[in-house]
Structure formats: structure tokens, C-alpha cells
């Protein structure tokens, strides 16, 4: 029965095309909008997610990694003593200013890591070696930001905070949410040359690597006991906090969410409308089934099979298109972070709407008088 229902659905190419288009459209919309929002908001915690530290320790209420505040570096001794800590290193993240050759200024975020371990340094390079930050005046900027920084190339010199800085490598896709270029360098150089108004013994964070097999949450709690006046978070928690910071502070979550929701509404309305129409147009066929003595659940099966067939085919098409578009337009500036649960959500939503759109006319079909088929 349901095979014939699917066959009947597939054979009607014109109607099939419109309803598949509607379903695929809705699925693509959810995936791209959702993927874009996720990709965008994950940039807020880029340093945390890829910085390789298991635990982040910072001053109270430092809930955005790009805006660090100052803590005395010597407190790190207390953390190094904690059981389960393999190493703990100071880290600096601070706003500064780059002056370009043409005389203009560009705000930058200086990221200084401890030179021996380079814990928290750039992790993905487009050109050069990340360890080159150890060279005199060495800095790394992102290849996407090179344009903002006067089309700088490896070997060029910039002026940061009035001091000489030499580009020794270009990172690959390390672009933060704030859009201000990251400038990776060593801790000492960051402190002494590239950031103003800072006492030498201060830094912004302590990055902790846990000993293998240590539970990060439990370790964070142990560290917290040693430094009760600082905030201590495991990587996952701190990453989420950084994302929430931008989501709630900027209203981007709200506006993006609203735009997605409205777009989705349009997409789902298209799905609902086309499916509703296709069932309504077939009322005569369903009346025939009833006149021939088909039970209600038999007619229901027929409608259900067609709705699910539409949802399934359309979703597969939509997912394929989403993957293709994602692959085409994905870039570090507008990354599309396509995760399985966004895909699953899009399929669930559209399937739900397909079922609803088929159920409404089905109620009408149930009440339909089979005698109508005998009237020409």
C-alpha cells in the first residue's frame, strides 16, 4: 500500500518538484543559518578552544577571553603546587594599537605566551612557523587580517604601541569575534613593548595543563581552593562562558535567532502550503479509495506515506545542498559550523511540518462522503 502511495507521489513530477523544493529550502535555511550562527559565536572562544590549556584562571568576572584584566604573575606558584597540574604558564591578552605605514591606526589584540612552552600560541599557520615568535620583535598575524594591517607580508615591519614589530609568520583562520586582529607574540615582549600601562609582574591568565588522566573539573575545583579570589574554569566551561558573553551582551543571539526563526517560518509555510495543496488536489482520489471500501487507517497510511516520502526526499536534498553551499562559502570570516544536531533539528522540524500539513486535509478526507465519486 505505502509503496504504491510513494509511487503515485513520485510520478507526479511537477507537484513533487514544488514540494521537494519547499522542504529542501527549509532544511537548507535551518542548516546555513544555524551553522553560521554557531560558526560566528564559536569565534568568541577561539583562543580557549584551540589554546591547548585544560584550565583557565583569570581575574574575577573575566568572562570574555579577549578582554583580560591583570593578575600578579607570582600567584602562579600556588597553582603549580596543586596535585594534578602538569604545568601552569602565564598568558597575556590585551588590546593595543597598530600603526600602519599610511598613518592610520588599527586596534589589535596582543596575545603573549610564555616563550619556552608557547602555551596558548597560534595553532594553525598559513605561512611560516608559529615558534618564530621567539625571534626578536617577532609577531604572527592572521592571513585574513593582513589586508587590515596594510597588506603586510612575512618579513614586513609594523608599529604596535609605537614599538617595532616584525611579521614572522601568518596564521590560518584565527579570526576572533570582535574582528580586531590577533597579534601573537611572547609574554615578555607583549608586556614590555606592545601593551601600555602595565606593571611588569602582571599578566591576564594562568593557563594550566593537567596531568594525563586528571579530571579537569575536579582539578579546577582544587585550584580554586588555592586561589579563592580568582576565577578558575575548565576549558569547556570557559569556552561556553565566552560565547554566552557575546550572545547576551550584543543581542546577536536574539537578532540572528529571530532572523532564522522568521526565515524558517517562511520555509515551513512553503512546505505546509505545497503539501496541503497536494493532498487537497487529490481529494477525488481519496474519495475513490473510500468508495472502494478503504478503511480510514488505509487512507491515512496513503497520506502518511506521501508526507514522509516528501519529507525524507526533501530533507536528503536539503542536506546535500547545505553541505555543498557550506563547502563553497565557508571562510574564517564567516565560518559555517555545520554540526549533526543542526542537521537533525532541521530534518525533524520539516518532517513535523510535513506531517501536520498532511494531517489537516486528512481530517477533511475522513469526513469526506464517498458518494461524491459518483457525481462526475
Amino acid at each position: 500500500m505505502w509503496i504504491l502511495a510513494i509511487k503515485a507521489m513520485l510520478a507526479d513530477r511537477a507537484k513533487l518538484a514544488t514540494s521537494l523544493f519547499g522542504v529542501a529550502f527549509a532544511v537548507v535555511l535551518v542548516n546555513l543559518q544555524g551553522g553560521l550562527l554557531l560558526g560566528l559565536i564559536e569565534k568568541a572562544s577561539l583562543l580557549v578552544d584551540y589554546g591547548q590549556a585544560d584550565i583557565w584562571v583569570g581575574r574575577r568576572y573575566t568572562n570574555n577571553v579577549d578582554v583580560g584584566s591583570w593578575i600578579p604573575e607570582r600567584w602562579i606558584q600556588r597553582i603549580r603546587k596543586v596535585d594534578g597540574v602538569e604545568r601552569a604558564e602565564p598568558y597575556l591578552v590585551s588590546y593595543s594599537e597598530a600603526r600602519l605605514a599610511n598613518g592610520s591606526f588599527e586596534p589589535v589584540i596582543v596575545v603573549g605566551s610564555e616563550p619556552a612552552s608557547l602555551l596558548g600560541n597560534a595553532w594553525s599557520m598559513a605561512q611560516g612557523d608559529a615558534r618564530a615568535v621567539r625571534h626578536p620583535d617577532g609577531i604572527l598575524v592572521d592571513s585574513c587580517d593582513a589586508e587590515k594591517l596594510g597588506h603586510c607580508r612575512v618579513g614586513d615591519t609594523l608599529e604596535i604601541n609605537g614599538r617595532r614589530a616584525k611579521v614572522v609568520g601568518l596564521t590560518d583562520g584565527i579570526v576572533g569575534f570582535s574582528t580586531n586582529p590577533y597579534v601573537f607574540t611572547t609574554l615578555e615582549r607583549a608586556r614590555r613593548q606592545y601593551v601600555t600601562g602595565l606593571t611588569p609582574e602582571y599578566c591576564s591568565f594562568f593557563l594550566v595543563k593537567a596531568r594525563p588522566g586528571t579530571n579537569p573539573r575536579a582539578l579546577a575545583a582544587r585550584i580554586q581552593r588555592e586561589v579563592p579570589h580568582l576565577d578558575v574554569y575548565d576549558r569547556q566551561t570557559y569556552s561556553r562562558m565566552c560565547m554566552e558573553y557575546w550572545l547576551t551582551r550584543t543581542g546577536i543571539g536574539m537578532s540572528f535567532g529571530l532572523a532564522t526563526f522568521l526565515g524558517l517560518l517562511v520555509g515551513l509555510a512553503v512546505v505546509g502550503q505545497t503539501l496541503y495543496a497536494s493532498v487537497t488536489e487529490r481529494v477525488k482520489e481519496f474519495a475513490t479509495l473510500k468508495a472502494l471500501g478503504a478503511a480510514d487507517q488505509c487512507v491515512g497510511q496513503f497520506v502518511l506515506a506521501q508526507a514522509l516520502g516528501n519529507a525524507g526526499l526533501g530533507s536528503a536534498l536539503g542536506l546535500a545542498i547545505s553541505l555543498a553551499i557550506g563547502w563553497l562559502v565557508n571562510s574564517p570570516r564567516a565560518p559555517i559550523n555545520w554540526t549533526w544536531w543542526i542537521g537533525a533539528l532541521s530534518v525533524l522540524l520539516t518532517t513535523g511540518v510535513c506531517l501536520l500539513a498532511a494531517w489537516l486535509p486528512y481530517v477533511r478526507i475522513r469526513r469526506l462522503d464517498p458518494a461524491t465519486v459518483l457525481r462526475g
Partner: protein, 244 residues
């Protein structure tokens, strides 16, 4: 009063459509009996209520009054779901407009009626294939209704009407959309098949060219069956000519 060899027994069947000033009584006490295996034609002028009566006898339409027994079952006693099951099990139909599924092949159209009874698709298709062969369409099973001639569609409709081995087959104007030669061919086919399958056939028509296929002709006028004749009897010629 139940006779076991009666396929249909109807008494005092009344039906009216509309309400208030638009109220039109269509059937006003129609009564008839049809024996098992009989081929009966219902004739009458256009608008006389032939289709309405056929729908009531075919258990698709509920009468306002009177009693209808089909295969010794008092139809009024059945609830809607039971009535649907009864139609599916015992009755077959060839609708005036065929009502085939335009997006299904001839074979699948016939098989669909069989799968509705819960028959598995391969079995249903085998049954459908056998019936398409009997109506002379074994080569055109893959074609859709739109790719078949009107006569071809009518044959598919006949095959569908018979696929569930009904006791009674109802056909509404089966030759109305066919030319004379095709009409004769379809009627020959229908009467041959119902004989072979032991099916009772009730045909509504106002096509005088096919009356010779009937065992008995019932004349409907003013909402009543006014007389029964045999094919070839002079009485019905006049009645039917007044229609045209």
C-alpha cells in the same frame, strides 16, 4: 421474506437532495429484487435518479427511507466502518468517470484495490496482471491512464472492479464515453467476465444499443421503478427514445 438467492432486495427507497425550497425528491419509493448471477440494467431519462439509486444499492449512499438488503445483509444496520469493509469484501464498482489514479500505472491501479484489503503487493500485482490479461490489456499494464485510450481506461476500471472477487459489480454508464464499437466490446467483456466469475451485474445506462446484454431491464421514472422488461420487448424502445 429473505430469499437466499437474492443479491439485492430494496423496498420503498426514498432519497431527496437539498432542503427548503430547493428540496428535490429524487427517489420516491423505489423497490426491486435482483437475483444472484443476474445481469440487470437500470434505465431512465437523464436526471431520473439512476446514479442515486445505484449508489444506494452499492452501499455508498444512505437512503432517507425504505430498506435495502444486499447479500441478505440489512444495510442500515451497518456502522460506517463496517459498511466500508462490506463494500471492500463483497462489492465492486466501475465509476462513470473511471476514477483511476492518474499517477499510477494500469497495473498498480488494479493492484491498489487489492492491497487495500491487506493483500501483499507482489500477490496483488499478480492478481492485477491476471485481470488485465482478462480485459485484454496485458501489454499495456505499465501505461498510466493518461497514456491509455478511453476504452483502455474503461477496461482498467473493469479489472479494478473485479480484482477483489466481488459478489456484485455496479457499473454506472460504462459505455457513455465510448464509441459504438468500443461500447459493444466493453459490454461483451463485462458480461463474459461476470458470467465466468459468477458475479451479479447491475448496470446504469441510457445507451439503447447495449440493452441486448441485459437479462432484465428496470425502468426508472418519477422516482419509481415503473416496469421491468426483457431485451427486445417493444415497450422499452419508446421510453428510451424519449430520452435522446
Amino acid at each position: 421474506m429473505i430469499a437466499p438467492n437474492l443479491a439485492i432486495l430494496a423496498r420503498g427507497v426514498c432519497k431527496e437532495f437539498g432542503s427548503g425550497p430547493q428540496r428535490t425528491p429524487v427517489l420516491q419509493g423505489a423497490g426491486l429484487g435482483i437475483a444472484r448471477g443476474e445481469v440487470v440494467f437500470l434505465v431512465g431519462p437523464s436526471g431520473s435518479g439512476k446514479t442515486t439509486l445505484l449508489s444506494i444499492l452499492g452501499c455508498i449512499l444512505t437512503p432517507d427511507g425504505g430498506s435495502v438488503q444486499v447479500l441478505n445483509q440489512e444495510v442500515a444496520q451497518l456502522r460506517p466502518a463496517e459498511l466500508a469493509a462490506f463494500r471492500q469484501r463483497h462489492l465492486g464498482y466501475v465509476f462513470q468517470t473511471f476514477n483511476l489514479f492518474p499517477t499510477l500505472s494500469a497495473l498498480d491501479n488494479v493492484a491498489l484495490a487489492a492491497t487495500m484489503r491487506g493483500v501483499a503487493l507482489p500477490t496483488a500485482r499478480a492478481q492485477a496482471e491476471r485481470l488485465l490479461e482478462q480485459v485484454g490489456l496485458s501489454r499495456q499494464g505499465r501505461l498510466r491512464p493518461g497514456q491509455l485510450s478511453t476504452g483502455g481506461c474503461q477496461r482498467v476500471a473493469v479489472a479494478r472492479g473485479l480484482v477483489n472477487d466481488p459478489a456484485i459489480l455496479f457499473a454506472d454508464e460504462p459505455t457513455a464515453s465510448l464509441d459504438a464499437a468500443n461500447g459493444q466490446a466493453v459490454m461483451e467483456l463485462l458480461t463474459r467476465l461476470v458470467k465466468a466469475h459468477g458475479v451479479t451485474l447491475v448496470v446504469v445506462t441510457h445507451d439503447s444499443r447495449i440493452l441486448s446484454f441485459a437479462n432484465r431491464i428496470l425502468h426508472l421514472e418519477h422516482g419509481r421503478l415503473i416496469r421491468a422488461t426483457q431485451p427486445g420487448e417493444a415497450a422499452q424502445r419508446a421510453t428510451l427514445e424519449s430520452v435522446a
